[in-house]
Amino acid sequence: MSSFFDALVQPDIPFMRYALLVGVLGSVAFGVVGTYVVSRRISYLAGAISHSILGGVGAALYLREVHGLAWCHPMLGAVVAALAAAVLVGLASLWAGQREDSVIGAIWVVGMAVGLLFFAKLPSGFDPMSYLFGYVVLVTRQDLWIVVGLDALVVGLAVLLHNRFLAVCFDEEFARLRGIASRGYYLLLLCLTALTIVLLVRVVGIVLVIALLTLPAATAGQFARRLGPMMLLAGLFCMTAVVLGLGISYEHSLPTGPTIVLLAGAVYLAVVAGGRLRSAVRPGVMSKNNGTEIVP
């Protein structure tokens, strides 16, 4: 890992420092929001939101490169598309009833299709693959400041409204009966999920970012019995995967996004397998994930 640490202090390759900082800062939001996503079982909604980002990125690049709108940053397009998808997905989830999965699937693929069409009309040199699977070279100082702002917004709101989100995620109907605007909070949670996804799109890519949102939280869920500790652990698992993934990919010239996601996946599988093994070796002790009643 020595060359990775050397690269971090090299003035001529600042993107490594930016990518590391974006990863570490983004992990905080991923730990918090990922825990809500996994606990509320809305990973597939987050998947639809993340994939629709390509439409926003493509549109922003098209407006900037073809129509000369210099202020149209791809991250702005990503944020707008992610928020629009979050609202649409949320409305579908709340009101589409049995057709919820069809509507969400449509948002998932339409967002990608729109993005690919915009990329086809861009001048040469713009490759959607770098957005789909991540490309740390693309991380700039400007991205870092955007990530700092989004991170503060996401974590601040999630902490400030924690009790409301907890009530809505655990029992939406009861929260509504206690006078909480549960549908509004649900949509807000999806919007926070959208902003969180945007944070690490540059590092791990649109396709793989959903894994980083869910795997560390699912791993943390194997240990934690309350939402707060689960968020903390999920953030640490996410941060570890990002830092180690960046280092390993740099050392061995591997693509960064897949390396990070494979590390997160390997830790999750190891923890689940360890839990099952412990249950098998010590009869009567069930792994947490079995959901078995322990107290008579």
């Binding site: 929260a175 009966l177 206690r178 869920g221 309350r226 959901g291 107290v295």
Partner: protein, 256 residues
């Protein structure tokens, strides 16, 4: 509706997509009464409960809860849903679940992220009422069905409601848990109006004063008048008679 009515339902009709579920339903529940709503599956019990909670609106007719519309009365009502409807993997402690009952209480939890000391005192008191205070720090997922049901009852009690609405309080709980729950409800019945939806006729006949039989329409009986004949009329077929150690009752579907 009389001034002493906790619940007043008048000529209520409700249908799902043109299929009538409740027709011409009228009944009253007096303040301080313990009543049960019984009836076959699909008879409209849950729909009636949702109408009383203001989660559904009747096509016609009038519902008053504690002298207000169901929506206006929500914060004065404690609601206990079935424990089996909750995600058993959800990482939440017993205390966190009970504290949710403080949401919407005046002066409580003003900051959205923190519950006040008053909220925590109320939650502990509610847990003491259902004899679950020693479980406050435990994970909700680790509890048995009966314990979870009592925690949800504590959540309903946490806001000190005037009326308790309980949905199948004995569903998926064993007989020991059922007995403990009955003891708790008997205690609560001294100070609160309670309406419970139940399949378990053995449980309710020993606990309530009045039974509201729902099968699209409603017939109200004092508990003492519940007989094999009235049950046959309600369910449309013969029911099993189950002899318990202490009393004889008529068993409903699945009641052993």
């Amino acid at each position: 509706m009389t001034s002493s009515s906790a619940i007043s339902v008048r000529d209520v009709n409700f249908s799902y997509g043109g299929v009538p579920v409740l027709e011409g339903v009228s009944f009253d529940v007096a303040v301080g009464e313990i009543v049960s709503v019984v009836g076959p599956n699909g008879g409209g019990k849950t729909t009636l409960l949702k109408l009383l909670l203001g989660l559904l609106r009747p096509a016609s007719g009038r519902i008053r809860v504690l002298g207000q519309s169901p929506e206006q009365a929500r914060l004065r009502v404690g609601y206990m849903p079935q424990h089996s409807l909750h995600d058993l993997q959800f990482p939440v402690s017993v205390m966190d679940v009970v504290l949710m009952g403080r949401l919407g209480c005046r002066g409580a939890g003003r900051l959205p992220s923190w519950y006040s000391a008053e909220d925590r005192r109320a939650a502990r008191a509610a847990l003491e009422q259902v004899e679950m205070v020693s479980f406050a720090r435990r994970s909700f997922a680790e509890l048995s069905g009966g314990q979870r049901q009592r925690v949800l009852l504590a959540r309903a009690l946490c806001s000190q409601p005037e009326l308790l609405l309980l949905d199948e309080p004995t569903a998926n709980v064993d007989t020991v848990a059922e007995t403990r729950l009955a003891d708790v409800l008997r205690q609560l019945g001294r100070s609160k109006t309670i309406l419970m939806v139940s399949h378990d006729l053995g449980f309710v006949t020993n606990l309530v004063e009045k039974v509201i039989c729902v099968n699209r329409q409603v017939v109200v009986h004092p508990t003492s008048e519940i007989s094999g004949e009235s049950i046959h009329d309600l369910y449309g077929h013969e029911m099993r008679m189950v002899r318990h150690d202490q009393h004889l009752c008529t068993g409903g579907d699945g009641h052993e």
